[in-house]
Amino acid sequence: MKNGTSKTVITGLSKLANGIAISANAVGTIVVLLLVLVVNYDVVARGIFNKPFLGAVEVVQFSMVLIVFLQLPDVVRVDRLTRSDGFLTVLGDRYPRTHNFIRRVINTVSAIFMTLIAIAIWPEFVEMLETRDYYGIPGVFTAPWWPIKLTIFLSAALCAIIFILKVVLKADNFELVRVPEHEEEDPS
């Protein structure tokens, strides 16, 4: 009975965490589009109208942080983080229990590492929020640091949670061959 409740709670948590990861992913996806548009805007404004967008560098840097860290939890969720799984696959065929054990250890270590990143970044965020520190050139273009630190913190924390849930639920997508993700949607 008690076991059942905790299972429901964990499944619920997992759904929530995955939901957040998917939403963050969608936002990060829009940033990819914005990146394309901002850089093109600068090229055209500079080349044709003699009015370069002087904040292009800072905006590009900021979008890189958003793209990477908003998408990272989803990358973890769908198990697309770079790994070499030849050994695990061979092991899985012969000794499925050892195989499962190793995978849980790996996910645990990963959760700890992401937690360390979150812990390392948090004080940076607090400091940047208090000091209103910015990057860029005053009078030309500046952008605050704190949203960057906050994004990294939240991303690392969410990655840690997703790794923990993978350990608890023993459920990660494990496949040797990863085709380009959306191959099947190709209209041609």
Binding site: R46, P52, I137
Partner: protein, 336 residues
């Protein structure tokens, strides 16, 4: 003698002027002085060129203890080290690295602000480095004054992009030094703002054979700092030696920068470049048309409770005493 280890970091490669002179001048000089007393001996570990930090990461690297001593490129840190912009916000005063290095270093020592800014980054200020004599304008086409820059595009980086606000319809295009050659060659920009030594290194004469000698001025961009915790653990004798040598290093680097500037101008002419003297009226007109960046700078510091106005006054006075005549007296216009 007691051994003291020191990790020196910079993100720039060992061949960069200020890094090279740190290895060839600063370190041997410290070793020599310590050897005379015979009490202490340094064990240097030099890590340059991105092996521990990138150029922008030196400030944080020293702060966090990844290096004990670092050469911070201050122009990357307008936000954390606002007072370091003192020479960048006062163009058209002194086209002499030695004078600017000395004046900035004295301001750093006579007023608490610069040291405080570094202290907040958990480090101790040692010395100022100035590695360029002055910004000049390099152009594709013949140029005689600001009239030829009006409506044009100028490659630049950092604070000096704001100097262009004094020229009608001139647009600054941001880029790294390594991009300037291509930017001018392709006509992406008509001009580039850089200093003669960089012009020589990047063969600017090939694409921009006209240099408008505007003498916008030397700018401080390097500061030698020491991690605070490391500093606190050093014996006084070592601290004293580091501080003395830092001042020598400051003058040594600035001197070399000036020598190289002279050689680089000759090399520019030898490579087919023409140097056009900018008229006094034109320099005056450009300076007058610029926003008073110095006053903005002083006000920002004043508002933060720092002696911005006093620092600016003292800095300008030092350069004037040194025989430099400002084209525009930025401090005379301060309101308080």
């Amino acid at each position: 003698a007691e051994k003291i280890s020191a990790v020196v970091i910079d993100g720039y490669p060992a061949k960069a002027l200020w890094v090279q002179e740190f290895s060839n001048f600063f370190i041997p000089e410290v070793d020599k002085r310590l050897a005379e007393a015979g009490n202490y001996e340094m064990d240097w570990q030099e890590s340059y060129g991105g092996s521990i930090v990138k150029p922008k990461g030196v400030l944080e690297g020293v702060k966090l203890g990844l290096g004990d001593i670092g050469i911070v490129t201050t122009i990357f840190h307008n936000s954390k080290l606002p007072s370091q912009a003192i020479s960048a916000v006062t163009p058209f005063v002194a086209a002499d690295s030695r004078a600017v290095a000395k004046a900035v270093d004295e301001i750093a020592k006579e007023f608490p602000t610069m040291q405080k800014e570094f202290e907040e980054q958990n480090q101790v200020y040692l010395a100022t480095g100035v590695v360029l004599d002055t910004y000049q304008i390099f152009s594709r086409n013949e140029i005689s004054g600001t009239a030829d820059i009006e409506g044009g595009k100028v490659a630049g980086a950092g604070m000096n992009l704001r100097y262009l606000e004094g020229i009608k319809d001139a647009a600054g295009v941001r880029g790294g030094l390594t991009d300037f050659y291509n930017m001018v060659q392709t006509g992406l920009t008509d001009h580039a703002m850089l200093w003669p030594e960089a012009a020589k290194t990047f063969k600017i004469a090939e694409v921009a054979p006209y240099m408008l000698k505007a003498d916008l001025g030397a700018v401080n961009s390097k500061t030698v700092t020491v991690n605070k915790d490391y500093w606190d653990g050093l014996p006084d004798e070592v601290k004293d030696v580091l501080q003395e040598v830092a001042v020598l290093y400051r003058d040594h680097v600035a001197g070399i920068a000036m020598d190289r500037a002279g050689e680089s101008r000759d090399a520019y002419v030898a490579a087919g470049g023409t140097i056009v003297e900018m008229s006094d009226e034109d320099r005056k007109a450009w300076a007058e048309a610029m926003p008073n960046l110095a006053a903005e700078w002083a006000k920002t510091l004043d508002d933060a409770g720092e002696p911005g106005t006093e620092m600016l006054n003292a800095y300008m006075a030092k350069l004037k005493d040194g025989g430099f005549v400002p084209v525009r007296d930025w401090s005379a216009e301060l309101t308080n």
